[in-house]
């Protein structure tokens, strides 16, 4: 009960901080839309190819945005001393991270709804499956990006360092997720690595939604893997968040 109240208070606080930073909100919401529009015109003469890559590429935006936003936000708590103060209060670490997760999930939902709506309604992206599921997959990836970001911030002392974790944690996933080449056609080792990366399952889910009208068990399975990775990374970052530091 207390934990829930603390979680919600943290969510409210993080959202107030975001509200005071309209530039970040604008970047989070506008940049994916601009990129998606650009992509649409890159494929101007190959619109069937746009249909094939559009939905899977939608997963990259929330992953990237939420990784950066959450890793820097938590690192800022570390460097300004607010984290140290919080750790001397009755606030539980899970409530703190849960509060972050909820706040960023809201932002991610907004982003996912906006960019999916633009892609599907304005840019003419067509998927076979239900469009609501496209948004659901995006939100799941956003929570994954947030979890990975919170985790990365545990291994960085400065904002400089934590931003360097971005290419290290996100680019390999983008290369191996099946965005460029179908995963089945990768050489054995790369396929195995790709199997171990959460973004692969989100991209699989989007491929599925692109081709099939029905939401099958395989799609739920892919979604479950993404969520499991997200939950595991938030839990792991709660563990790495030490109350006592040197």
């Amino acid at each position: 009960m207390i934990t829930i109240r603390q979680t919600l208070a943290t969510t409210r606080r993080v959202l107030s901080q975001l509200r005071h930073d309209p530039r970040t909100i604008a970047l989070v919401l506008v940049v994916p839309c601009v990129l998606m529009t650009t992509l649409r015109f890159v494929y101007q003469h190959k619109l069937r190819a746009f249909d094939a890559v559009g939905a899977p590429l939608l997963t990259v935006f929330p992953l990237a945005t939420m990784f950066v936003v959450s890793s820097v936000a938590l690192l800022r708590e570390r460097t300004t001393g607010t984290l140290e103060r919080l750790l001397t209060t009755p606030l539980s670490r899970l409530a703190l991270l849960g509060g972050y997760a909820l706040a960023f999930a809201l932002l991610a939902t907004l982003q996912a709804v906006l960019v999916s709506a633009l892609a599907l309604a304005v840019l003419g992206l067509s998927v076979a499956g239900p469009t609501a599921m496209v948004v659901v997959v995006c939100v799941a990836v956003a929570i994954l990006g947030m979890g990975l970001g919170l985790l990365a911030s545990a291994f960085a002392q400065t904002e400089f360092q934590v931003v360097q974790f971005f290419p290290a944690a996100i680019y390999p996933q983008m290369l191996l997720a099946g965005l460029l080449v179908p995963r089945q056609r990768m050489v054995g080792v790369l396929h195995a690595i790709s199997d171990a990366m959460p973004l692969s399952y989100a991209v699989d889910a989007m491929h599925h939604l692109g081709r099939q009208t029905e939401v099958a068990g395989a799609l739920w399975g892919d979604l479950a893997v993404v969520v499991a990775f997200a939950v595991a990374s938030v839990a792991l970052s709660a563990v790495t968040l030490r109350r006592r530091t040197a």
């Binding site: 208070a9 300004t80 103060r85 009755p90 006592r244 040197a246």
Partner: protein, 271 residues
């Protein structure tokens, strides 16, 4: 010998208040990066006193404070806070901590900061207005912290530490950057809190502030050089000026062959 000093003060505390000491440290040591930052610190502090933690920067004041609030790793020796090991969940409602740099959210307003820390500590929002008045920030409640002056930020941070009427306040240089009027008012507030039974540990590197304290812990190079009342310390060094007294203590402690001042027991710490 260290034990003797702890005992003498502890006995005195017990006679006065019949309570266990608010803080008891026995041979507390902390290593950071291969260096011993606290090198065997022992003392006992009574309840309801303003204790000044003084010493040059780098002498271990902040490390000691971090150990008291339970966020310092690798603490050895015995440390008791309100009769419990530091940092245990039961203490987190009873200990207020203000870090040296104002640890508040610069991108939130004063009130938003207080509202959040109040929710985290389980403090009713009705308390906030009184608290803002106490630290003289009533007029700034709706301003963002990053638009405030350094002194105002420090007071926001202080207000957050005061939330929920903690029994022990650990304040790391709370008066840095404040003008003399405000500084005087805050020391007045600290005195009032102590009169109400709160124990305050206030660090400073300005010797001038020492006279506001009931007791002083003088630290140097990870050790407690002296633990006494301001008056007794000045008298011991034969000077009215506490800065001179401190310098004299340092000199006598670093003289080769001189017995460690840690052996001295406070003569009238309870006075």
């Amino acid at each position: 010998m260290i034990g003797r000093r702890v005992d003498s003060l502890a006995v005195q505390v017990e006679l006065e208040t019949a309570e266990p000491p608010a803080v008891a440290a026995e041979d507390v040591r902390v290593r950071r990066g291969g260096v011993e930052v606290l090198r065997g610190v022992s003392f006992a502090l009574g309840t309801g006193r303003v204790v000044g933690l003084l010493g040059p920067s780098g002498c271990g004041k902040t490390t000691l404070m971090r150990a008291l609030v339970g966020v310092q790793a690798r603490v050895s020796g015995r440390l008791g806070v309100l009769g419990k090991p530091p940092g245990v969940p039961a203490l987190r409602r009873q200990v207020g901590y203000m870090t040296q740099a104002p640890s508040v959210y610069a991108d939130l307003t004063v009130r938003q900061n207080l509202t959040y820390f109040a929710a985290v500590r389980g403090v009713p929002h009705a308390e906030l207005d009184g608290l803002l008045a106490k630290v003289d920030l009533g007029a700034e409640a709706h301003r963002r912290v990053d638009a405030l002056s350094g002194g105002q930020r420090a007071r926001v941070s202080l207000a957050c530490a005061l939330l929920g009427e903690p029994r022990l306040l650990v304040l790391d240089e709370p008066t840095v950057g404040l003008d003399p009027v405000l500084r005087k008012r805050l020391w007045g507030l600290f005195g009032e809190l102590a009169a109400g039974g709160v124990t305050l540990i206030v660090s400073s590197h300005v010797m001038d502030e020492a006279r506001h304290c009931d007791e002083l812990l003088l630290m140097r190079e990870g050790r407690v050089l002296a633990h006494d009342t301001p008056g007794a310390l000045a008298a011991r060094a034969g000077s009215h000026d506490l800065e001179d007294a401190f310098l004299a203590l340092i000199e006598s402690s670093s003289m080769p062959g001189a017995s460690s001042v840690e052996d001295e027991s406070p003569r009238d710490a309870g006075a």
